[in-house]
């Protein structure tokens, strides 16, 4: 693969893997109305834990499952701090994130690489595709297509399960809790339990994304999760800027599409000759500000134009 095909293909994979993270952030931020910053700790923990487990002989699929469970437990802890100890949710998340940094370093000792690059969840499908052709150039394509198919399948399952879940009585109750606690309690909803379940799902998804990311890259370190929350939110806002905030189905779709677009934007900027990749975090911060303000500015300009037209019409009438 050359640089151009690389540019076209990589954002698809990153979009899917980070899209799962964005769905997790969406469940906390949009559904429950809790800005859970523990994401910054759960994602790297899951990434290093997944590789650590695989290096110690655990099946890659099982490692993903364990990571999701660990992530879910992290979510439960954050929720319990907020719900029972009455620590503000923002602070609960920050406390959890800070605490998890230690675990990340302990597990990874700073940096962790897969001992055997073939020991990933992506490998079975990739090696199956490799058998199709023996040409050298096919290797990269087989890896890409295999990874893409598996990521799409996982993303598809996640979306379908989320859509189904948030349509059940339990899911509906969780959504209600995030929107109106007074009404929820009046309708017999245990709002504390709903926040715990909701954050467990959110962190579980974040952990799933972290494990997949680490296995896709083949390495993870304590800096893997830097800026995670910004990426997650940027993807959500980007989707909303394009699709608006409609039905639940539309919101899920907008996040998936937002993931692709986000990584194409980042990838395009990285292609600029001489761009210092150390500026990436700064770039992401600027990007999220732009994503948030551009729809607002467009709305203002439209309003101003409408007012001007009304005014002109009135002037014509008056004359």
């Amino acid at each position: 693969m050359n640089q151009i095909t690389n540019f076209l293909t990589e954002p698809l994979l990153l979009g899917l893997i980070w899209g799962i993270l964005a769905l997790g952030v969406f469940v906390a931020y949009r559904v429950l109305d809790i800005a859970d910053l523990s994401v910054e700790g759960v994602l790297p923990l899951s990434a290093v834990l997944s590789l650590f487990l695989i290096n110690n002989g655990v099946n890659p699929f099982l490692s993903v499952l364990i990571c999701v469970l660990v992530g879910g437990i992290c979510g439960v802890i954050v929720a319990c701090m907020h719900v029972y100890l009455k620590i503000p949710s923002l602070l609960s998340g920050i406390i959890m994130m800070t605490g998890l940094f230690s675990l990340v370093v302990v597990v990874s000792k700073g940096h962790i690489t897969l001992d055997n690059m073939n020991d990933t969840v992506f490998n079975p499908l990739n090696s199956l595709l490799l058998k199709v052709s023996s040409e050298r150039s096919w290797i990269a394509w087989a890896n890409f297509i295999g990874t893409l198919i598996l990521s799409m399948v996982i993303m598809g399952i996640v979306c379908i399960v989320l859509y189904w879940f948030f349509g059940t009585q339990l899911g509906l109750s969780i959504r209600a809790t995030g929107k109106n606690k007074i009404m929820s309690r009046a309708q017999g909803i245990d709002d504390k339990l709903m926040e715990i379940i909701g954050l467990a799902i959110s962190s579980g998804l974040v952990a799933l994304s972290g494990a997949l990311l680490a296995q896709y890259q083949g390495y993870a370190s304590s800096t893997t999760g830097k800026g995670t929350i910004v990426i997650g939110l940027a993807i959500i806002f980007l989707g909303e800027a394009i699709f608006g905030r409609g039905s639940f189905k539309l919101q899920l779709t907008s996040i998936v599409v937002g993931g692709f677009i986000y990584w194409y934007i980042i990838d395009a900027i990285l292609l600029i000759p001489g761009f210092d990749s150390n500026l990436l975090y700064l770039l992401q911060a600027v990007l999220i500000v732009l994503i948030l303000t551009i729809p607002y500015i467009i709305k203002k300009i439209k309003e101003r134009n409408e007012i001007r037209i009304i005014r002109e019409n009135n002037n014509v009438k008056n004359k």
Binding site: W164, F165, G167, T168, Q169, L170, G171, L172, S173, R175, A176, K179, N180, I182, M183, S184, R185, A186, Q187, G188, I189, D190, D191, L193
Partner: protein, 262 residues
């Protein structure tokens, strides 16, 4: 049915210096088929009484008993299984971002919240259509619209309908027409009357409107300063007029020291 005995509640300020004794030994009994209206000035403890019954506020002492079950210590969300509520603020009783049918479904499944059953079955949809149609709100074909697209009156009517799903043992209405314009308020009051007559759910309604307090319900109490100072029911209630009530109201108010009137 509902029996409240010697209910006390004091709100303490954060520094513990200023105590506000809001309920001073309330005794109240509601029987099957009762429709009780509560009137009283600001700070008389009406809303606190209602909040104690539905569990938002925990009383300091006293008992709240429904059908021989003491619910004084039961959590708010658990009481929701048998207490329906409508709030003063139309925004509070429903979820604006969710569709009408989702709101109705939440209310209709109050008893089984941790169920993984898909929430909107066709059977339920037909049931909601029938229920909504009964009150002639013109909403039966808008079930998939968002709640926020409705007017305050429509929302209050739906909240009222939601509160009566699963036939609760008690219906609490906290000035539920106060935020509406007079015409809408009248319509919602009419719907309230229809619902109470149709379902026969014992109802407690707080109101600022003396006319409403007299016109609706078979019993009336007046609260002042944390106590019930006037009770009226049956024949006496039927003969009650606004003038008589205002006279009664003023009599009680004039007994207050000047500082409290101001």
């Amino acid at each position: 049915m509902l029996k409240i005995s010697n209910l006390h509640k004091t709100f303490r300020s954060e520094n513990g210096l200023e105590n506000n004794h809001v309920l001073k030994g309330i005794d109240l009994e509601i029987d099957e088929g009762d429709f009780l209206t509560i009137i009283g000035g600001n700070g008389s403890g009406k809303t606190t009484l209602l909040n104690c019954i539905c569990g938002v506020v925990k009383p300091d002492s006293g008992d709240i008993i429904i059908d021989n079950n003491n619910i004084t210590k039961l959590k708010e969300f658990k009481r929701a299984m048998f207490i329906g509520r409508v709030f003063q603020d139309p925004m509070q009783g429903t979820i604006p971002e969710m569709t009408i049918i989702e709101n109705l479904s939440l209310a209709n499944n109050r008893a089984n919240k941790i169920s993984l059953r898909w929430s909107m079955s066709n059977k339920e949809r037909e049931f909601f259509k029938k229920e909504v149609k009964y009150f002639d709100l013109g909403l039966e074909n808008r079930l998939d619209d968002r709640m926020k697209s409705l007017s305050g009156g429509q929302r209050q009517s739906l909240t009222l309908l939601m509160a009566t799903f699963n036939k609760p043992k008690l219906l609490l209405l906290d000035e539920h027409t106060a935020a509406l314009d007079p015409k809408t308020a009248k319509k919602v009051m009419q719907i309230t009357k229809d619902i109470v007559n149709k379902t026969k759910i014992p109802t407690i309604m707080i109101t600022h409107n003396m006319k409403d307090a007299i016109e609706y319900g078979n019993r009336l109490i007046m609260m002042k300063d944390g106590k019930i100072i006037f009770r009226c029911e049956g024949k006496e209630k039927e003969q009650l007029t606004v003038d008589k009530l205002i006279k009664k109201f003023n009599e009680e108010i004039s007994e207050l020291p000047d500082s409290m009137v101001l």
